[in-house]
């Protein structure tokens, strides 16, 4: 079932990719950047969900207090990590494809920030709903965050290009 959820989200992301391909292809280096942004968003969200789950397991009394600080912490990690990704991606785009390194850096940062701002609250909410339903959130969150963040990533890259390019 988890793989089913993951596949549905990935197919939706693929469809969004088709819908936005003209804009994505229009900026040299964006197709190269996409797998990195997919990976980063999903990794940060997955870690956030797992951490939340484990805090709830061990300290359910303080879990409510740490929810937002943990979300902000994950968002900050995502933004700083996106700088690293954007720098490497920008230099690669410039050297290999003659792309605009600064633009790729900005797109990486803005798209990761947007997808994390939208996706982290949903992952957090899903984790808590799963825990309260008596399910093992570790089994639920993986498929949810990969499917959600795949689609969010394509949308956020598209929005970033629209704002920056």
């Amino acid at each position: 079932m988890g793989q089913g959820i993951s596949l549905v989200g990935a197919i939706a992301a693929g469809y969004l990719l088709e819908l936005t391909k003209v804009e994505l292809i229009g900026v040299m280096g964006v197709f190269m950047l996409l797998p990195g942004v997919f990976e980063l968003g999903g990794a940060v969200a997955g870690a956030f969900g797992a951490k939340l789950n484990h805090i709830y397991e061990k300290h359910p009394d303080i879990a409510r207090r740490v929810y937002f600080p943990q979300m902000i912490y994950s968002l900050c990690i995502a933004v700083v990590a996106s700088v690293i990704l954007g720098l490497i991606g920008g230099v690669a785009a410039m050297l290999i494809f003659g792309g605009d390194a600064v633009l790729i850096l900005k797109i990486a940062m803005l798209s990761v920030a947007l997808s994390s701002l939208a996706g982290l609250p949903i992952v957090g909410w899903s984790t808590i709903r799963a825990i309260k339903a008596g399910l093992d959130a570790d089994n639920i969150i993986g498929p949810v965050e990969t499917s959600l963040f795949d689609a969010l990533t394509v949308l956020s890259v598209f929005i970033s290009i629209g704002l920056l390019a």
Binding site: I11, L17, E18, L34, P35, A43, A81, L85, I88
Partner: protein, 176 residues
């Protein structure tokens, strides 16, 4: 405070570098971006294919990293994966083709057969490679007394993603 900041920076830089490894596969995609844009079913299938091989890479790594007394029979793991893999491939090919048709893409039988064969071939090749890679890495990690649980999954999922994207790029240039 300094410890927390150092930890935060370490985690952030590690996450950024790990994501940057995926750019290797992205280079292949960028090289064929103009060509792949017109192969609508394949474009739609890309995230699904990456997710699929990444998931199986993680599953194989998780099983291979089990302690010897709990390790399942890898032949049984392979058979279990094989039973579901065919179904996943058909779902990906089917939905990608249907959505492409919605976008006005003209599906001819020759393309569909090539598409199905390519998806099946590439997924099987990558998943089989993950068995080999996991076996080799697990041995190497044991020899160096490292915990496989910490490193196998990130490495194998990254390799699976890169391999799949490079196969897609190769297929765009050679087959389609």
């Amino acid at each position: 405070m300094i410890l927390t900041l150092r930890h935060f920076l370490f985690v952030s830089i590690t996450a950024g570098l790990a994501a940057a490894i995926s750019l290797i596969g992205g280079i292949g995609l960028e090289l064929v971006s103009q060509k792949i844009a017109v192969l609508v079913p394949l474009l739609i299938a890309i995230p699904s294919l990456n997710n699929l091989v990444g998931d199986y890479a993680a599953i194989i790594s998780a099983h291979i990293a089990d302690p010897d007394e709990n390790k399942p029979d890898m032949v049984a793991v392979r058979q279990a994966i094989a039973r579901v893999l065919g179904f996943n491939i058909i779902i990906i090919v089917g939905f990608s083709a249907i959505l492409a048709a919605f976008r006005g893409y003209s599906l001819d039988p020759a393309f569909l057969i090539k598409f199905l064969l390519f998806v099946a071939f590439s997924v099987v090749v990558v998943v089989e490679s993950m068995f080999v890679l996991n076996f080799v890495l697990n041995r190497a990690l044991k020899n160096h007394r490292l915990n496989a649980d910490d490193v196998l999954i990130p490495i194998t999922t990254a390799v699976a993603d890169i391999a799949m994207l490079l196969l897609v790029a190769l297929a765009v240039v050679t087959i389609f």
